[in-house]
Amino acid sequence: MAQRVIITIDDQHAAAIDKVAASLKKAGLKDTQVLSSLGIVSGEVDAKHRSALRKVAGVKAVEDEGEMHAQ
């Protein structure tokens, strides 16, 4: 089942975030959005490929995307 994920890229790969994003796509990430200033990549991944994302060089964390609400 596909799930939305938020991926944090570590500081060492801050300048190479596009390369990390390309590796993430190869590892199964789809509908990818790259936020270069913050070092964040988001997208959708099939559950069976999720663990592969964590192994991509430069990935600090893979977290489930959630919803924010007006307070």
Binding site: Q3, K60, D64, E67, H69, A70
Partner: protein, 460 residues
């Protein structure tokens, strides 16, 4: 939160549940979502029938029964692990499931023979989660009443009445020169206006036609698919009003702090008041790229700290962009329920803002410092009965373009506005600006785990 106090009616079984006419929101996630399932009359009061219908369509295993909580009121948080919550006396269930579960339930509802009458369209819960909590609370209260009535006429749980002085107090507020929040933060006597300072408010958008903002420098970007940055909710317009509203509005009191700031409207919450992390983070990226010295986020959800927001907040701060966020409204101190600061305010580099009332006491809904490093309340702002701008309603009767709202959401833009003034006054940004705000806050009697450094103050 953001409840309109004047229109708040006592809850009763006759109360109409809100109907959301929101166009289908973007499908933000393929993961589990919550649905409201309505059963046919035959199933009402028969939890076994409801359970079996849900099990066969959704595979839901763990089901909580609303009446199990009847000794005390149903606490939605306590049912967090359940796939479904059954309100057996109402013939309604709240089900957590994926698209397949939804499809199966919808197919069952389309058949005349099954026990399921209707399933709220997918996206309903996703798009309206802010409202849905109240919606669910209504169910909870109704279920509670039904249970008590069935229990031999035991006294009904008292509903929280609107204080009798509230309408008069608010009428008086609308007739003053400055709102209580502008007074309490001393924005009214500040020499500074926020001129030249860029303030991003990431929320439900803005009413670009509001007469109080004509001639102001306003930039906009929507991060919600299919919706423009025009505010279809009113939450965003209210927050922008507090942070950046004018020095002399056409009518009524002054309600805005940084009255000459440049406004960046980032729509990251849809018109029902919710948005996915990707939209919020994309809004933060946009504001950071545009070198907004202040980023105001009156949003959150009760989740553990996230690495993504820790890093996003730190990167923004390093780039000279101070992020302030609502501590969250998940608590109800009237019944002793106190929850920790919500995400993303629970990230260290992001300033978490609690809400105070006019007596400078912590608001009953305002969250408390969490136990994780960084998840503490950092500062407080006025957040109860806050008067500010709202969009003109799309349908008659035409109302004044102002309203009173409650929430840590309302406290947050008071801090954002003051941050813009401090930035103008001192030239400080990022971590130094953060420090200016906390070190100049006014001490109150509220303990620091509830109110942080104290009530935010404007530079004089």
């Amino acid at each position: 939160m953001a409840k309109r106090r004047p229109t708040r009616a006592p809850r009763s079984l006759e109360t109409d549940f809100p109907v959301i006419s929101e166009p289908a929101a973007l499908p933000v996630t393929g993961g589990p979502t919550r649905f409201i399932v309505t059963f046919r009359d035959d199933a009402i009061g028969k939890p076994q029938v409801m359970r079996s219908a849900l099990r066969s369509t959704t595979g839901a295993r763990s089901m909580a029964l609303a009446s199990d909580f009847a000794g005390s009121a149903l606490n939605l948080e306590e049912t967090g692990g359940a796939d479904a919550i059954l309100f057996e006396q109402l013939g309604i269930a709240v089900v957590t499931g994926d698209r397949t579960a939804h499809r199966n339930m919808a197919v069952a509802a389309a058949s005349d023979s099954g026990n399921i009458l209707a399933v709220e369209p997918e996206g309903f819960m996703t798009a309206s989660a802010q409202l849905s909590k109240d919606y669910l609370r209504g169910f909870r209260d109704a279920a509670q009443r039904l249970y008590e009535m069935s229990d031999g006429g035991a006294p009904l749980a008292p509903f929280m009445p609107l204080p009798s002085d509230a309408p008069a107090e608010m009428e008086a507020e609308a007739a003053t020169d400055f709102t209580w929040g502008i007074n309490a933060t001393r924005a009214n006597t500040s020499r500074f206006s926020g001129q030249g300072i860029r303030v991003a408010v990431l929320d439900t958008g803005f009413d670009f036609d509001h007469p109080d903002f004509l001639g102001r420098s306003v930039l906009q970007q929507s991060f919600i698919r299919g919706q423009s940055a025009q505010d279809g909710n009113s939450h965003g317009t209210h927050c922008i009003g507090t942070a950046c509203g004018p020095k002399s509005p056409a009518t009524g009191p002054r309600y805005g702090v940084a009255h000459e700031s440049t406004i960046f409207v980032g729509k990251v919450l849809n018109n029902a008041g919710s948005g996915p992390d990707t939209s919020v983070l994309a809004g933060m990226e946009w504001a950071t790229t545009n070198r907004c010295q202040v980023i105001s986020m009156s949003l959150g959800s009760q989740r553990p700290q996230m690495t993504a927001y820790n890093q996003a907040g730190q990167r923004a701060l390093n780039a000279g962009c101070l992020v302030v966020a609502a501590a969250g409204n998940d608590s109800d101190r009237r019944i002793g329920r106190i929850l920790p600061v919500a995400c993303p305010a629970n990230s260290g580099p992001i300033m978490a803002v609690a809400a105070l009332d006019r007596q400078l006491q912590v608001a009953f809904f305002s969250n408390r410092s969490g136990t994780v490093a960084g998840a503490k309340v950092d500062i407080s702002g006025p957040g109860v009965r806050v008067y500010s701008s709202t969009p003109e309603p799309a349908v008659p009767p035409r109302k004044p373009r102002y309203d009173f709202l409650d929430g840590t959401s309302m406290a947050t833009p008071h801090v954002a506005g003051c941050a813009a003034l401090w930035c103008q006054a001192t030239g400080k940004t990022g971590a130094e600006l953060y420090q200016k705000l906390t070190s100049n806050a006014r001490a109150t009697s509220v303990p620091s785990n509830d109110g942080g450094a104290g009530l935010v103050q404007a530079p004089q």
